[in-house]
């Protein structure tokens, strides 16, 4: 599904914020600008997934400081692009250790930065898509009855209907019935489709 692409820019220099926002707008990327790390923390919830262009040299909380806060937030996959002075190796190292998406040196190469932002947004998109799919998968599975759930678990392990019936101590006919219900509720076209879904969204399911 099409998603509005969004980037946050945190830099204390107004000219840098403005010029970056203008540059991003030429690539149909919307941006919100913040003059300090504190401003960003005040208005953006930490668990909101997004892409942030972050200057390391900020008044108050530094870029690395904000990066650490963002990375520490649970369930967050915000991609942070950290900007720092030329040749600042220690900052580059700690940025990558703290899980920054990328590290960019000043003076900026605008085209390269744009590519990096696109890449970061692409990754966020993927993550977000996957999260949506996992949510949907879990929602469908919640619809299964207790017995259907047992049948689903054995189906995913690759057992044929007769074996499932014997293992659960029910007739093959009843088993067929449950199986049809599982396929319907999970919106699986074939057994292999069902197995793929289970493996990619709930790896634990295939092993028990």
């Amino acid at each position: 599904m099409p998603h509005r692409r969004h980037v946050a820019i945190v830099d204390d220099e107004a000219s840098v914020r403005e010029s970056l926002a203008l540059l991003l707008s030429t690539a149909q990327i919307e941006s919100r600008t913040f003059a300090s790390a504190e401003d960003y923390l005040d208005s953006v919830p930490l668990d909101e997934s997004s892409c942030v262009i972050l200057d390391n040299q900020l008044p108050g909380l530094s870029g690395i400081g904000l990066l650490k806060r963002i990375a520490a937030a649970a369930d967050c996959d915000t991609a942070v692009i950290l900007i720092s002075g030329h040749g600042d190796v220690p900052t580059a190292v700690s940025a990558m250790k703290c899980g920054a998406f990328h590290f960019v040196e000043k003076p900026l190469d605008p085209e390269a930065l744009l590519l990096t932002v696109e890449e970061a947004l692409g990754r966020t998109e993927q993550v977000r898509d996957r999260q949506t799919q996992v949510q949907e998968f879990r929602g469908r599975r919640a619809l299964l009855t207790q017995r259907e759930h047992e049948v689903f678990a054995l189906l995913v392990q690759g057992l044929p209907t007769k074996l499932i019936a014997r293992q659960l101590g029910i007739t093959p006919r009843t088993t067929e019935h449950h199986r049809a219900a599982v396929m319907h509720k999970m919106q699986a076209r074939t057994i292999s489709h069902l197995v793929r879904m289970a493996l990619s969204f709930d790896p634990a399911a295939g092993e028990t």
Binding site: E13, S19, T26, K106, P107, P110
Partner: protein, 551 residues
């Protein structure tokens, strides 16, 4: 592989051991030869054929050798016995000779061990502390040795009781004076031979000429005067000794004292003083030696401290120049990266807008913002230039000759160590110029430093940098000539451009800054190759001040 290494290892050990053994024998035999030769000379003055010489530089050699290693003891003993038997023809029996010389040689071992191991004296240093230790320990040790030797002779019946005190005194003073002179001279020789490059300066010629001439005069007086006056004339020897101590330091005075002692010994033996008279001279000689050596060591120590100070000052100048350049680079990078990023970003945004067919309005907007940012960059640059420029010149009348001499003093030690000599020449008094002393010194330091670097590339220890200060047609001119390999053709065009350097550790800012400083003084700086080899840098400053008209 292992076997081979072992074989190589043992071969090495063997050859090293051979070397050590050879050195041991060579040193020992050389000692024996020198010892006997000295005895042949000094035996002319001995006390009652008891093997007591009135001047004993030979025992100085003994102490010096034993400080090098106690294992030379057999040579020492052999030398002493041989000298007694072959040279002095002592009256007492061979057994008494061996007994007395054994006891005495052990006494010298005692002095050597006390000096080296207890008092931590090393003949390879000439610190004032070492000299003082030596001057205290040697006379004290000589008293003990004198007691030992005379005691053995007395007990053996070779020395009559009524001569005991007299013999004791003769032995002591001859030993103390001789040992002090030889150990001090040994220290001097070690310190000269340990220098990588011994420079004989013009000063040295003058110093030693004055010393030799004045000493000769004094000896002529002593020799010519009636012997009753000779003793009073001896005091005159203090003059050349103090002169050479002041001018040439410890090394000079140590060598001078040994020469003086030898010359005095010759003079005295020629005149034919009695042993008792000679002793009185020797006591004066002891005082002269102590005075001279303490003076020399003090002068040397002060000279060393001065040299260290100069080296540190020179280092400081270099460091600060480097630090300034480094800080300037950091400042530029920091101040310019922000506006540069912004300009580039607006430019790319504007291009992308045009490419995607946007109207002129947003593009014009982006470009004018880039323009404004470029203007801001210009202001930043202007500000940095004000900050680092030598704009706050504080001109005052200054002598280019003095400035050149000061730079020479800062650079000459380091240059000498690299085989380059620096000379400053000025034909006649040069009028003062109006200039900022720090700025001008920075320029000269830079140019002279470059010249030394160039001359040092010869690697034949014949590098030469000549700084000539002249005035001509209303200009004060400093010419710095070197006899290095000259400016590489590919560097010649861009010599004064920033960040051009042929040096592995250079920033390439020196000549750029120098030219800027000279231009701010209303002067010129240029260079030309000189035949047959080398480069000349010329700095010209207007004698009528920065804004003056030169003829």
């Amino acid at each position: 592989m292992n076997h081979r290494e072992e074989a190589l290892g043992s071969a090495w050990t063997e050859s090293a051991a051979n070397l050590v053994r050879r050195r041991f024998w060579l040193t020992g035999i050389a000692f024996l030869a020198a010892y006997l030769a000295l005895n042949v000379v000094t035996v002319r003055y001995q006390f009652e054929a008891l093997g007591i010489t009135l001047w004993s530089p030979d025992d100085g050699l003994t102490v010096l050798l034993l400080i090098e290693g106690v294992e030379f003891f057999p040579f020492v003993l052999a030398g002493a016995v041989l000298a007694d038997v072959l040279v002095s023809h002592v009256h007492h029996s061979f057994y008494v000779t061996v007994l007395a010389e054994s006891a005495l040689s052990l006494g010298y071992v005692g002095i050597a061990v006390a000096l080296r191991d207890v008092l931590k004296f090393s003949p390879r240093r000439s610190d004032l502390a070492d000299v003082l230790v030596m001057l205290a320990a040697v006379p004290a040790g000589a008293i003990l040795n004198s007691l030992i030797y005379c005691g053995v002779l007395y007990l053996a019946g070779s020395l009559p009781a009524d001569q005991f005190i007299s013999a004791l005194l003769h032995f002591w003073i001859g030993d103390a004076v001789g040992i002090i002179a030889v150990v001090a001279a040994g220290t001097a020789v070690f310190s000269v031979s340990s220098k990588t490059r011994w420079v004989w300066r013009k000063d040295d010629t003058l110093n030693w000429s004055v010393f030799i001439i004045s000493s000769c005069l004094v000896f002529a007086f002593i020799h010519g005067a009636p012997s009753a006056y000779a003793y009073h004339l001896f005091y005159l020897l203090f003059l050349p000794t103090i002169w050479i101590g002041m001018r040439a330091g410890y090394v000079g005075v140590a060598i001078a004292l040994l020469a003086t002692q030898a010359a005095f010994f010759m003079t005295a033996s020629h005149i034919g003083f009695s042993a008792n008279d000679f002793d009185q001279f020797q006591i004066l000689m002891l005082v002269l030696s102590i005075t001279g050596l303490i003076l020399g060591a003090t002068v040397t120590e002060r000279e060393r401290a001065n040299q260290k100070l100069r080296e540190q000052q020179g280092e400081l100048v270099r460091i600060s120049a480097h630090a300034t350049a480094g800080a300037l680079g950091m400042l530029l990078a920091h101040e310019l990266s922000q506006p540069l990023s912004t300009i580039a970003t607006y430019a790319v945004a504007a291009r992308r807008m045009l490419q995607s067919g946007a109207g002129p309005e947003p593009v014009i907007d982006a470009l004018s913002k880039a323009e404004a940012e470029a203007q801001r960059t210009r202001e930043v640059l202007e500000r940095i230039r004000d900050l680092v420029s030598v704009g706050r010149l504080q001109p005052r009348p200054l002598s280019l000759v003095d400035a050149a001499l000061k730079i020479r003093a800062l650079c000459v030690e380091g240059a000498n160590a690299r085989g380059v000599d620096i000379a400053v020449e000025s034909v006649h008094p040069i009028p003062l110029v109006e200039g900022d002393p720090i700025g001008i010194e920075q320029v000269l330091n830079n140019i002279v430093g470059n010249a030394v670097d160039a001359a040092a590339e010869r690697r034949d220890a014949r590098g030469r940098v000549l700084v000539r200060v002249i005035d001509r047609d209303g200009w004060a001119i400093v010419q710095v000539d070197d006899n290095g390999p000259g400016v590489a053709p590919e560097m010649a065009e861009s010599l004064f451009q920033a960040y051009q350097t042929s040096k592995p550790r250079g920033m390439g800012l020196g000549l750029t800054l120098s030219r800027r400083i000279v231009q701010q003084h209303g002067g010129r700086i240029w260079w030309q190759p000189i035949a047959p080899e080398g480069t000349r840098f010329v700095v010209e400053l207007n004698l009528n001040g920065p804004d003056g008209d030169a003829a």
